[in-house]
Amino acid sequence: MKPMLEELKTGKILLSDGAMGTELQRRGLPSGACPEEFNVSHSEIVAEIHQSYIDAGSDIIQSNTFGANRARLKLHGFENRVEEFCTAAVNNIKRCGSSRIYIAGSIGPIGEILEPLGELKLTDAYDIFSEQAKALAAAGADVLFIETMMAAEEIEIAIKASKENTNLPVSASMTFELGKAGLRTMWGVDVPQAVQKITEAGADIIGSNCGKGFDEMIQIIAEMRLLTNKPILAQSNAGIPEWVHGISVYHETPEMIGEKVVKLLELGANIIGGCCGTGPEHIRMMREIINNR
């Protein structure tokens, strides 16, 4: 298998996977439990979810490590288990035994506000991200996926910590929402600012993930493609969740998003996949669309 960036250079579209959180919930992750701890205590469930995405045709599988940083794990009293959870998470992908997939180490936001507006020191944020990035790299990840970021300073630190402490390619994506001021993150970052910041910080892949659904994602990617020649990643939520009979249900079904996925590819997305609410069926449908191009 070629390194991911080389593969992307040939023009190949890579298919990532769908949600982990909502899939864990369907399999009994209790409300409020620590999803990253499941890598150790319920590794067979985590591996089963990875396998379902491999079977659906994913080229990239993301580790269950979105919140596996010291600050977030501390809420559950697990702050000293970053390395353990990251290693177990990568191993849960490896044990599926597929030789044709890339393992992406997922890195999410720290969940605190950076100084000067908040309490989190820039140097502490750097150390927190470095610890996670190093652990994922040591465990055998092929690429790091920094995702769901909303603040420009935080994504910058996450990218630098990843690039300076590992030799892995790095993808960095932010979450936008369409409002009266156009597409913005909750911190007010627009698409041009995001592209500039992510590029300057040195990421290899630029993207957007999560959000309100595929229609907004199409607008985001259209704007992004005009601003960068780098590979673009697009991993949308399956719409906005609704609560039905005790579980959150997303309404963008695989059938509904077919044309939208075609559009994303036409616009120049290089890596596609799903975020919250997408499952193996969404990924299978994307596989078919990619294969039929």
């Binding site: 409300s31 409020g32 001021a181 969740p241 005790g246």
Partner: protein, 213 residues
């Protein structure tokens, strides 16, 4: 003169100018205006504008935090000067992000807006368990429990809290909010109210207090 200073104070809060906000608060106080009036006619109208602008995507989290800081420092000057009855406010709210959830930006903004509107707010922070909610409601004799969730994996915990409060016979209203939360979700889990944003949360809290009274 006083009118102009009050307007300038509102603007200082809106623009997040902390030093200006402090000096205007002091000036108004030296001019003999009661602390309560400085709060109600200067600081609060400013914060209200901030809430509306945030709701309408004209400003974003960083600007709200900067305004909040200006508001907070001025409020700190006034607090010892507010009479006990003024300071007690319109009602007591216990607020927290539910267990397992780590985002608390939205909740912080709601807490701040409520506080700015005269509520006594006890902020339990993030990752709040049901026992902590109950214990605090009891201790503070709270009127409302406000819960926030940003993850679909944690929103279900709101129902756990609401059920428990009901089972234990607490005389308290519940309100919920957060990115994945909707009116229909709030209805299904038996919450007394749902707020789409921080501005709505203030209005809802006032409504709930008036029902309860």
């Amino acid at each position: 003169m006083i009118e102009t200073l009050l307007k300038e104070l509102s603007l200082a809060v809106i623009d997040g100018k902390q030093n200006e906000s402090i000096s205007l608060t002091n000036k108004l106080f030296e001019a003999g205006l009661p602390a309560k009036d400085i709060l109600d006619k200067g600081l609060l109208p400013g914060m209200e504008v901030v809430g509306v602008r945030f709701r309408d995507n004209i400003i974003f989290v960083p600007q709200v935090l900067i305004s909040a800081r200006a508001m907070k420092t001025s409020l700190a000057i006034l607090e010892p000067l507010l009479s006990k009855s003024d300071a007690k406010g319109v009602g007591t709210i216990v607020i927290g992000t539910v267990k397992g959830d780590v985002h608390d930006i939205g909740k912080n903004i709601v807490a701040m807006m409520l506080r700015s509107s005269g509520f006594t707010v006890i902020d339990l922070g993030i990752d709040t368990k049901v026992e902590k909610f109950m214990e605090t409601v009891k201790k503070e004799n709270a009127d409302i429990v406000g819960m926030s969730a940003l993850l679909t994996t944690t929103m279900g915990y709101m129902k756990v809290v609401i059920d428990k409060l009901k089972d234990e016979g607490f005389d308290v209203k519940t309100m919920v909010g957060g990115a994945p939360i909707s009116k229909s979700f709030a209805d299904q889990i038996g919450a007394d109210g749902y707020a789409k944003n921080a501005s709505d949360a203030v209005k809802l809290a006032k409504d709930l207090i008036s029902i309860k009274a």
